[in-house]
C-alpha cells in the first residue's frame, strides 16, 4: 500500500438506524486492503463505540480516517456538551445514557474503556459546551 487511504463520514445525532454505518464501512475497507483480521476487529470495535457515543451523547459529528500501511488513525469530532470529568467517564460501568437508550442495549458504560482497550493510542480533547474530539491510533505491527 503506497498512499494514505482517507475516509470521511457524517454521523447524525440520535439516529440509531444509521449508527454503526461508518464503523461497518471502515471494517470493510480495512478487510479489502488486506489488514490482519484482529486489527480490523479492534479498529471496528473502537470506532463503533466512539461513533455510538457521538450519536447518544453529542448529537452527531464527523469521522475522519487515515489508513496507512503501518497505522490507522481515526479522528471523531463532535459539537456536543463535552465531557466534564474524563477520568470518571473512563470508568467501567459509568454512564449517563438515558433510559430509552439503555432499552436498546446501549449505556453499559463500557464504551470508552473498550476504545482504550482496543487501540494503541487514545486521546480525548474536550471542552464543555464546545465539543469533544477523540483521536485513536492502531498500529499495524
Amino acid at each position: 500500500m503506497q498512499d494514505t487511504v482517507k475516509l470521511h463520514f457524517d454521523v447524525s445525532g440520535n439516529d440509531f438506524t444509521c449508527a454503526g454505518e461508518a464503523s461497518g464501512k471502515i471494517k470493510r475497507t480495512l478487510k479489502q486492503l488486506g489488514f490482519d483480521i484482529s486489527l480490523v476487529r479492534n479498529v471496528a470495535i473502537a470506532v463503533y463505540e466512539a461513533e455510538i457515543n457521538m450519536v447518544i451523547h453529542a448529537d452527531g459529528g464527523v469521522i475522519d480516517v487515515d489508513i496507512d500501511s503501518d497505522c490507522i488513525t481515526v479522528v471523531l469530532k463532535d459539537r456536543g456538551p463535552g465531557i466534564p470529568d474524563i477520568e470518571l467517564a473512563m470508568k467501567e460501568g459509568y454512564s449517563t445514557a438515558p433510559e430509552n437508550v439503555r432499552m436498546l442495549g446501549f449505556g453499559a458504560g463500557m464504551g470508552l474503556p473498550n476504545i482504550k482497550k482496543y487501540t494503541d493510542e487514545m486521546n480525548i480533547d474536550t471542552v464543555i459546551g464546545v465539543g469533544t474530539t477523540i483521536t485513536l491510533k492502531v498500529y499495524n505491527k
Partner: protein
C-alpha cells in the same frame, strides 16, 4: 456444526437468510451491546433478546455465526432489513438463553 444443523437440532425458526452453511464454534449470551461486541467470538451463536437494528450492527462487527432471539423476542422491521443487507443469520426460539446455551454446549 453449521447453523443448518443448529436450526434442525434445536428446532429454531429462521427469520433471516437462507444460506445456513456457516460454522458455529461457540456461544455467547448477553444483551448489552458493548459487552457482546468485545467479548463474543467470531463464529459464536449469539443468544439475546435484543432484536433491534443495532444488534445487527454488533453481529456484523463481532462476526458471530448467527443471532438467536430467545424467549420469542421481537425482530424489528428495520433490523430485518439490515440483516438481509448484511447477510446476518437471525433465528428465533421460545426457549430461554440458558436452555439454548446448554443445548449448544451438548452439540459442539
Amino acid at each position: 456444526m453449521d447453523v443448518k444443523e443448529l436450526v434442525e437440532k434445536l428446532n429454531l425458526t429462521v427469520l433471516c437468510s437462507d444460506e445456513l452453511g456457516r460454522k458455529v464454534t461457540g456461544c455467547y449470551c448477553g444483551d448489552l451491546l458493548s459487552w457482546v461486541m468485545s467479548r463474543a467470538k467470531e463464529g459464536d451463536a449469539w443468544l439475546t433478546v435484543m432484536g433491534n437494528i443495532n444488534s445487527i450492527g454488533v453481529a456484523v462487527l463481532a462476526d458471530v455465526a448467527c443471532i438467536v432471539l430467545t424467549e420469542n423476542a421481537a425482530l424489528d422491521d428495520d433490523a430485518l432489513m439490515r440483516a438481509k443487507q448484511n447477510d446476518v443469520i437471525v433465528l428465533r426460539t421460545d426457549k430461554n438463553s440458558y436452555e439454548i446455551a446448554a443445548a449448544i454446549s451438548r452439540l459442539i
